[in-house]
């Protein structure tokens, strides 16, 4: 396999270590990877990563003064950076490709939200965000503009990425491990005329965020992925100390490959995670959401609500795994995933997974797959709404039910535009 040459040549950054990188390589072909990447092409994504240009600069824009941002390489010693490489080998690959990372430390509640522009195509260094005890942080992750595309055009974006990746690899004889070569990769691609800087559309956007919340820290993370043609893979891996709280609002408009891994480890007693999400997958979207929530401490709480709507030939996957560890007595977990298929060609996969090793817990897990409700449709039509308008209203209602946070309205508008484009086209 062409991709393996690149993988073998990779060098591990200090905080990952050679053993860590070896672990990633093994994990890429392991059983867990086959399971968690059942509906997404791990091999193609890995290859796309290996050939992607580097995205540079700090991921945080205009950070408030209460946030200290440094490169890993500028630190006296590499930061402690635990990550489950067995489950998330791509995170290790990204770290190795980037050769660096960003450490952002919050020791005092910032006076304004942290702005994190949406991931751009290319490989970006992982962001390690440490939120100090008692700090409250709002994070807004979004991009300014969002376009819509009609349901009829279903570009096989990932295919394009892979084509380009293979082309790039043939001409790219040099090993991709040294920083010099990494830096030279983008210009090299440019000379080929298929530059990522000229044609970013087909390149994978990546983001790896490692989030640590100290005792009673509170983070509200709002993310709007509203550029439907952008392909992306991202990981949000959070660890929470005692009574810390993480709220995650996520809205996604997808018409291409989009994968989000969310990993939350509720270590401290009373730690709490809440997530509300709505996604509209249309055209040839391959939307894949993978949540793993670990209840480790006493009385830890998680609430996950995800509404996904799939139209056209979209494939929509949600995997919600709740793992309650032996010492997590009093844990309280609630996960619900509702899916609507607007077309017969839409492919919806939802898989609830529960692993419970303590009797003193409350755990609710629900997943539904359905179509628009006939009674509701008739109700709207009986009030004079044409079928398409009634369907649109029900669809947006369903999605809105999974929206919250600062981008809720913006997302609802993008969803409506996309639904209109899909139904009038």
């Amino acid at each position: 396999m062409a991709g393996e040459i690149g993988l073998e040549a990779l060098q591990a950054p200090a905080w990952l270590g050679d053993a860590g990188l070896a672990r990633c390589r093994r994990a890429l072909t392991g059983k867990l990877a086959r399971e968690t990447w059942k509906y997404s092409p791990l091999g193609k994504v890995t290859q796309a990563l290996l050939d992607a240009p580097m995205a540079r600069g700090s991921p945080l824009v205009d950070a408030p003064e209460q946030v200290r941002v440094r490169r890993f390489t500028a630190l006296p010693s590499p930061p402690e950076c635990r990550i489950n490489l067995h489950r998330y080998p791509l995170a290790g690959i990204v770290a190795a490709l980037a050769g660096d990372g960003w450490l952002a430390e919050v020791a005092e509640t910032p006076d304004r939200p942290l702005r994190l522009p949406a991931a751009t195509p290319g490989v970006a260094a992982p962001l390690l965000l440490r939120v100090g005890a008692g700090c409250r942080v709002e994070i807004e992750e979004t991009d300014a503009g969002a376009s819509t595309i009609a349901d009829v055009s279903g570009p096989q974006r990932l295919g394009e990425v892979v084509d380009r990746a293979t082309r790039g690899r043939r001409s790219n004889k040099a090993p991709v491990n040294s920083p010099q070569v990494l830096a030279a990769r983008a210009p090299e691609a440019e000379s080929e005329g298929t530059s990522a800087t000229h044609d970013n559309q087909g390149t994978l956007a990546t983001r790896v965020v490692l989030l640590f919340l100290a005792q009673t820290a509170e983070v509200r993370w709002s993310r709007a992925d509203l550029a439907p043609a952008r392909e992306g893979w991202s990981l949000l891996a959070a660890e929470l100390d005692e009574d810390a709280s993480l709220t995650f609002n996520h809205q996604s408009l997808a018409a291409a490959f989009q994968r989000l891994d969310v990993s939350v480890a509720l270590h401290g007693a009373g730690a709490r995670f809440g997530s509300t999400g709505a996604a509209l997958a249309s055209a040839g979207a391959q939307l894949d959401l993978q949540y793993v929530i670990e209840h480790i401490g006493h009385r830890t709480v998680s609430r996950v609500k995800q509404h996904n709507l799939a139209s056209g030939k979209a494939r929509c996957t949600f995997n919600g795994r709740i793992h309650i560890h032996p010492h997590a007595s009093g844990a309280d977990a609630d996960l619900s995933n509702r899916n609507l298929a607007l077309s017969a060609n839409a492919d919806i996969n939802t898989k609830p997974e529960l692993e419970i090793y303590n009797d003193d817990v409350r755990c609710a897990h629900g997943a539904t797959v359905g179509r628009l409700d006939d009674d509701a449709l008739f109700y709207l039509q009986s009030r004079g709404l044409p079928t398409a308008a009634a369907q649109r209203l029900l669809s947006i209602g369903f999605l809105r039910d999974g929206l919250s946070g600062p981008f809720a309205e913006q997302a609802a508008n993008s969803f409506l535009q996309q639904l209109s484009a899909a139904t009038s086209g």
Partner: protein, 250 residues
Amino acid sequence: MSLLQVDDLHVSVGGEAILKGLSLRMEAGEVHAIMGPNGSGKSTLANVLAGRPGYEVTGGAIAFKGHPLGQEEPEARAQAGLFLAFQYPVEIPGVSNMEFLKAAQDSHFKANGQAAESPVAFMRRVRTLADSLSLNPEFLKRGVNEGFSGGEKKRNEILQMLLLAPTLAVLDETDSGLDIDAVQTVAAGVNRFRSADNGVLLITHYQRLLNHIVPDFVHVLAEGRIVESGDRKLAETLEERGYAWLAKSG
């Protein structure tokens, strides 16, 4: 030309014959009440008039304002002036009542070549209507019928009727689940709506409602047919004697 003319209507649901030769004629300006035992086909009649999918007309004919109703979509019937107040109004989470009402009115205006009303004027009008039905304006912001009590849902149906000003309003047990005051509020709304140009088909189990909305005719629907028709006195007789005597004589 009658407002509504139903001739020898046969309707099947899921392959089972429910209406078996129902005939009914209404003129503009009239209020007709339909009473009848549970399961006799009252809601079936209402649904088939509104064009609900799954209700198969196997015989007979319906004419609304002189136009035969055949395969018309529910929205076309609504836009032509037919309104059904549901026995069980549907909850639609995520769609605000106000947004729903505006979409409904806009579709009527559009179908009739009228320009849409400005949102401000619209909201003012809807608030006034809600007020007249003792419906808290807060309900306009909530999801359509979401978490509404039974009585609130019914008042919301009447609100829609008043807003859309149909020529034929079919009210399917709108009085069920209403408290004593709410029956009067709703009845006042219906009476305000009544005019020489429109008609009301009231489906009810209770003669009580007919003290507030005085019908011109009362019909008894049993086993898929109108088995008895009369004036409001018929409702009083039914209240006293039930339906059994009709079945025996019919």
